[in-house]
């Protein structure tokens, strides 16, 4: 690719292509390039490298959350619901999150509310052991709402937990009855604890393309998603769809998953993320 130091017309097509290849999607890619062009003009920018920096600034602006997470607010018991489509990395992420918060002094309990998928409860139990936290589970096939009810009560009473993280079954956002099931799970938690769930994380696979936006919209409507956890960023996909999700829905990325081990988990850093996408 011809690397000019002075800005030429090819640059704008190159920027748009880089963004689209990163799964940013055409509308947001075009908007970002337009914003960059306007600023380049207004600020009298001449060097290609500076145009890239301006683009990165505009992307960081979109990705920077307006508010901190509720998970850190002081309260007796914080309830976190983890949702998302099949195979996105929910169960693994919960194991990592348990480890993360236990290391930060929280008393964590996990709720095994995926009562549908083969060996889902076994899988979460292994993660619970690795993280050194308790798990509340019923038998496969049990009502997920009943598991949540039990997990909340155990967290409050026998386990004295201050953070309950609930795993749910993967579900495609187009399945009405499964999305209804999520609403029901939320209501169970809300009945037991004031303003619960305090955080609803949508776990999103970074290799997902434009369907991520449809996922975020549906899960936001049914489950009240408050944040995104972007997984599998250790792969070659850039996860650019989160720009549209922020831009259109205002849902921020809070954490990232960068591997299959318990420590492969970090707070979302917009600057590092953007450099990975268009650096």
């Amino acid at each position: 690719i011809f690397q000019a130091n002075e800005i030429t017309d090819e640059l704008w097509e190159e920027l748009e292509e880089t963004l689209i290849l990163g799964d940013v999607g055409v509308p947001v890619a075009q908007e970002l390039v337009e914003r960059t062009q306007k600023r380049v003009e207004r600020e009298n920018i001449k060097a290609t490298r500076d145009a890239y920096l301006i683009l990165q600034q505009e992307m960081v602006r979109i990705l920077t959350p307006a508010e901190p997470m509720r998970i850190d607010d002081p309260r007796l018991l914080t309830i976190v619901l983890v949702v998302g489509v099949n195979g996105s990395g929910k169960t693994t992420t919960i194991g990592k999150m348990a480890h993360w918060y236990k290391n930060r002094g929280r008393k964590v309990v996990l709720g095994a509310a995926d009562t549908f998928r083969a060996a889902a409860i076994d899988q979460l139990k292994i993660w619970g052991e690795r993280a050194g936290v308790d798990i509340i589970a019923h038998e496969p096939g049990a009502d997920p709402g009943a598991v949540v009810f039990d997990a909340v009560r155990a967290s409050q009473e026998s386990r004295q937990a201050d953070l309950l993280i609930v795993d749910t079954a993967g579900r495609l956002q187009t399945k009405y009855n499964l999305m209804q099931e999520l609403e029901k799970i939320k209501r169970v938690a809300a009945k037991q604890v004031h303003r619960a769930p305090h955080e609803v994380f949508l776990v999103l696979d970074a290799s997902t393309g434009q369907n991520a936006i449809s996922q975020a919209k549906s899960f936001k409507d049914s489950a009240g998603v408050t944040g995104i956890i972007l997984t599998k960023l250790d792969g070659t996909s850039k996860g650019g769809a989160v720009l549209s999700i922020n831009h259109e829905l205002g849902v921020p990325v809070r954490f990232v998953g960068t591997g299959e081990q318990i420590a492969d988990f970090a707070e979302f850093d917009p600057v590092a993320f953007v450099e990975g996408l268009v650096g």
Partner: protein, 291 residues
């Protein structure tokens, strides 16, 4: 829909008997947007649009169609051709036939292994499932539960025996017990993870599969091309299976992966239950990608 968007484009241009270059250029912009929105890879879209443009300019608009419909017809035909003919599983030659399932983490391999086993059992074969994922917590239990649901045996050796050894032993067992098909479920992995890709090469070497099937999630975005290339370069793929097509992901990755590997799409995963598998049909997938 694409037809509606193209209709809008052609309403602004004069109606003619043939598609002019101006007509086609305007239409190709909409086609490009539709394909990118459907997650077809940027470079694949470029080549595709160039090919369609060539076929469309100067083309007669058929009596029964509007110019917009004529362009959609050309795009649809080109898509169907690229997606390729449906192809069955290669079960030729001496039994046991080995099917090896590979792909990224969470793409649906374990579920698809069981789906294929059920399908084969129903068609008179004697399949055996092999739990060659020694990494994912409770992966073996997952496959064992699925195997029980469909009355297909599962060969496993725990998580301390190398995957290639488990696979090799399974093939020998299959030969001894007259199983016709050995279905290898492997661990999810990144195509850039050299050590894990080496493991795949070893499994392939000791089992000589008649099918190496890349399992691809329908919602995969632009990187589908590099993922497929990566797997294909290390273990020559013989087929593709796209999963989770029961959602509303457009599935453009199918076009990208097919284009870059030349490998046939064999099946689609259409749900979470084990009967939810269908043979690939190019016209239905083409319509879905076009939106």
């Amino acid at each position: 829909s694409l037809t509606d968007k193209l209709q809008g484009v052609f309403d602004k241009l004069a109606r003619q008997g043939k598609l002019t270059e101006a007509d086609v250029n305007a239409a190709m912009r909409e086609v490009r947007l539709a394909l990118l929105e459907a997650d077809v890879n940027y470079k694949v879209v470029k080549d595709f649009v160039a090919r369609v443009r060539e076929r469309a300019v100067g083309r007669e608009v058929m009596e029964s169609l509007t110019p917009a419909q004529q362009v959609v017809k050309i795009v649809n035909e080109e898509l169907i051709e690229l997606l390729g003919k449906p192809a069955p599983l290669n079960l030729s030659g001496q039994t046991p036939h080995v099917l090896m399932l590979v792909g990224l983490q969470g793409s649906g391999k374990t579920t698809m292994a069981a789906k294929l086993a059920l399908r084969l059992r129903k068609s008179g074969q004697r399949p055996i499932l092999v739990a060659a994922d020694i990494y994912r917590p409770a992966a073996i239990q997952q496959l064992e539960i699925l195997g029980k649901q469909i009355d297909v045996p599962v060969h496993s050796e725990g998580t301390s025996v190398p995957a290639a050894t488990i696979a090799k032993n399974a093939v020998r067992l299959a030969r001894e017990k007259a199983y016709t098909t050995v279905i290898l479920d492997t661990a999810g992995r990144l195509q850039i993870d050299d050590q894990m890709m080496q493991e795949l090469e070893q499994v392939r070497m000791v089992t000589r599969p008649s099918e190496i099937l890349l399992i691809v999630d329908a919602m995969t975005g632009q990187e589908a091309v590099h993922v497929a290339e990566g797997f294909n370069q290390r273990v020559a793929l013989t087929g593709l299976i796209m999963t989770k097509i029961d959602g509303d992901a457009r599935g453009g990755a199918a076009l990208s992966v097919r284009q870059v590997t030349g490998v046939p799409i064999k099946f689609l995963g259409t749900g979470e239950k084990l009967p939810d598998i269908e043979p690939f049909q190019p016209d239905r997938l083409a319509g879905r990608i076009l939106g």
